[in-house]
Symmetry: D2
Subunit: 336 residues, 4 copies
């Protein structure tokens, strides 16, 4: 058995605590140090998992830390990522690298030559159904990819404050699907057209949308669709289908398990997961596991890296521009 | 194109009229004559389909009739079948041949040597899904048959008068599934055990049951189950599954087509067919069509004949005995 | 019972013959006369249904004709529609009125004042599942409509000659869904953006696409998506879902009935309908029936009329323009 | 937060180790001591969870143990249960209490007066779907219960040695469903009829069956069915449906999550769970949790107790007798 990777966790908010539990549970990891801008929160989490609370400076200087998981507030990602890599720590960085694509590019340019292992938090790649879809796609089961359809519908409206800091639906929510699209097709998005509206939360209409529909053309010729909503009245709905010249593969909406009622003229089964986290929860662990195996020298496919971070963001920026300008926009991925 | 078969229909009740419409619509059939004990009803049906009302005697003597479809009341089946065959007419006879197995045997013994084409009304064999199941079973897709599960649940209670004349749930309702079981497995039922109760209609408890569960052992070793109800509160439920050594084939409950509602914590789709007739309606036509093709000299598989009629009835009689006596009963099919 | 409507059928191609069978089968209709540019074909169809072959001139002059069903070649629709209405005949006109929206507008302008009953062949409105979706939508079951998703995927490539005369995927195939969108939402499309490609049939790339994705913004704020393909490798796939503020209604892909195989690590059920006609066949009859009831004085909802024909076409024209120009296009429906 | 319950685990075989992991993971439990007839195995498990290896005698005498989980070989259950209760330890005892119903009764008679909390290992009650079914049943959603259908099909044949010591399919496998039937209906089984065969493993035919079908009549009038197999070729299949006077509730076969392939004339989705443990795994934890909450003073519904253990066994004995004798058998539950 390999020596466990000694991790420090930076950021103990909701997602930080999810990561803390996963780091503590993973047999190949030691959760050694925990940071948070709120030191008492860092202490509490550290204590729960028998780790030590520390400052970021301590973490980056420590010889007892191999890797850093950055789950702090978005505006801090870029600097922390840069410092951690420069300190020689492997990094699992929550997306996005930065809300500014230019800033993200600069960081990546700086740290890429250092060849330190980095993964960016596109955990949805590790969804079990999506993985199966990808595996069959890669085997050529459905021939040449022609048409991709993606649905990303969150069930509950986030608070206004969250939306104000999120960078917008494209950069905050849709970005996961821009990444999934690139990962599944192993192709790049050339053109994007988007229409959006603030239907569920009209008060955000001056700076964001909560409902949007997008169409995209990929480099190798396939076409793609995506719709996003911030609120459904029927649970969390995430689906992907890929149509090819020889069939269709679908990773369909997932309903919770439960009893079905046959009554009168209807059949009622349990609905979709009530919230996004119930659906994607396990992917945080499987992503972490893939990264840890990578650190251990294993050949791991599909681990999202720095370039993936930049390119998904480039699509999000183009989509945002399309929403704003009301025209199709070319994605500047070739510059990355 | 072949000369159409000239049919006479005997009996214009509900099922008789279903047959009338099918006979009129079939391109290989001429509906020439129509009989009913109520002459005015015969006239009305005859007029609707440009046929002639006639007496049974006229039909049997007529040179212009090739085949007879017997859809009159059950107690008349045996004599009509006998007379029609003796008159050289091909016969499509609604099940059962007679409520008395002994009487049915006698008729079959008399007419079998005459080698006139006869089919008995086990139309459910012609259900599209059951046919597909049978085809795959025969190809050996699931290996050796081990376990059969059948569900036969009618949605609406028939009137008391119907039940009083029906011969009981085993002979009236379950008999279709005894036939399906024999047809699917190409095997015979040796032993049957049944438990029943009058749960939906307690007033029939002295002479019949409306809910029953059965288990059976087949000659070649497979085991089977069947449940029957006279009333569900969720539509007509007919299903068959066959488990073999290499997999399971299922002809599942059929829901009507329609819109699905995703709302709150549930997903509601349209329910099962509201009544048995909506589900099995098409099988009357496909059964007729198979018989007409047989009359035209085509090799037709699975057309239920006289022996099928007797053997399904022998199982029904054994099941009835099991219900009454509270013990397992051996089926006397070997005598047939 | 009402006096049957005496119909003349103009055009005996594939769809014409579908209409002939429906006209003959409908109890409220007499199929009296049949026209075709190929007189021998007209005679054959007339004979099959005990009608009379006639020229268009004879039909339009005949006092024995109440209504005309136009199922001839697209370029003849406009003139025939105009003449038939001017002759006082009610008209069921296959879509489109004309491939030129301007020409279609002119005809409608001419004949609208005459107040003769006309329906345009948007038969998919009469799909049983779509009807159920619409009924629940209208009852407000899912609140305010926010997001519509439509899929229109034909299974088999039409011949090149068909595609050359079709007016393009937008005007030939997608137009049905532009109509469905207007009918379901009772709203108008303002903006459309489309991307397309000739992936299945590269030889059409200079004048048409076979795969396309569209996004639309509706007048009252909802957003919509549509994808179209001319060829799948998994059957005919038509689906619509409408998400509202209180839930989602879906008229989902329809699979044929049949046996399901459980084997190893998979469950295989029968696939989607093999071709579009198997799925939509019944809607030709239900549309005709609705029109006949309308002619009989009944209040019929959702019968597609002349304005519906124009407006769906206006969306198709805008979508075509978007495909060609690579920009979002405003639909000129306000001019209609 | 309550003081954790200090548990000793007796037996470290496959299921014992499942319990060990659950005991270690449960926040309300301390796994303090571990026993096994193989002391080195006890040591290994103890070390893994920071517990202490101990002999049964030490456990029973220890003041530091509140509760005992008995997961040793079946023949040891009765004596250990008796001793543990007499030592004042709460007990979670794997089923069955003893293969001999008489011996089990004697134990229960001895220990019942001591009023020590005991639960018997009918963990399937804690399946999430079955729980939902039960909850709706109890609310009266489907009216009066009339017909229960249960399927219990394991996917892989156990080794011959296991089957020889198992007590037979009724006592080893079906017993879980006898318990589920009693729990769901809150009723007792009066009569049972069973047919069985050794189809998958003919070499056991002299002492056991691997495929069986059962019918039962319940005290309050409902009828029930159950089929059992030791080997399918399509995964682990566990299902329950309850039909009542006002509808049907079903806890259906569970398929694993994954991508669906639409291709040609078929749609293939992932199959059922490959093995029983994948499906029921979580119920070991939820059962333990319910027991721990009960120990903590919480009102917990449906915890299977000693009488439940005896009564399920009485049905299994009756079913075994029915198999052997070929007749219906009355269950002697009234004596319990």
């Amino acid at each position: 058995m390999r020596t466990p990777q000694r991790f420090a966790l930076i950021g103990c908010g909701f997602i930080g605590q999810v990561h803390a539990a996963n780091l503590a549970a993973h047999p190949g990891v030691t959760l050694a140090q925990v940071c948070d801008i709120d030191m008492s929160r860092a202490e509490a989490v550290a204590q729960q998992y028998a780790a030590r609370a520390a400052s970021v400076e301590q973490v980056l200087k420590s010889d007892a830390i191999d890797a850093v998981l950055i789950a702090s507030a978005t505006p801090t990602h870029a600097a922390l990522l840069e410092q951690a890599v420069q300190a020689g720590k492997a990094v699992y960085c929550e997306k996005p690298i930065d809300l500014s694509l230019q800033r993200a590019r600069d960081v990546v340019e700086t740290i890429s030559p250092l060849q330190v292992p980095v993964t960016v938090g596109f955990n949805r790649r590790f969804d079990h159904s999506h993985q199966q879809l990808k595996a069959q796609l890669k085997q050529g089961v459905i021939g040449q990819t022609e048409l991709i359809q993606m649905v990303c519908r969150a069930s509950e409206l986030p608070p206004l404050s969250y939306l104000q800091a999120s960078g917008g639906q494209m950069r905050d929510q849709a970005i996961h699907f821009f990444d999934l699209l690139r990962w599944l097709t192993e192709d790049e998005v050339n053109t994007v057209g988007a229409l959006g509206a603030a239907l569920a939360m009209p008060e955000i209409r001056d700076f964001d949308v909560d409902t949007s529909v997008l169409i995209m053309r990929l480099q190798q010729g396939a076409l793609a669709q995506l719709d996003n909503t911030r609120r459904t009245a029927y649970g969390y709905d995430e689906r992907i289908s890929v149509m090819g010249s020889a069939g269709m593969l679908a990773s369909e909406s997932q309903a919770v398990r439960g009893a079905t009622l046959y009554q009168g003229a209807g059949i009622t089964q349990p609905g979709l997961y009530s919230d996004w986290f119930s659906r994607v929860k396990e992917t945080y662990y499987t992503h972490l596991d893939a990264f840890v195996r990578h650190l251990g020298g294993e050949q791991v496919e599909g681990l999202p890296g720095l370039i993936d971070g930049l390119r998904a963001q480039a699509i999000a920026d183009a989509a945002q521009l399309s929403l704003t300008r009301g025209e199709f926009v070319e994605v500047e991925w070739v510059k990355i």
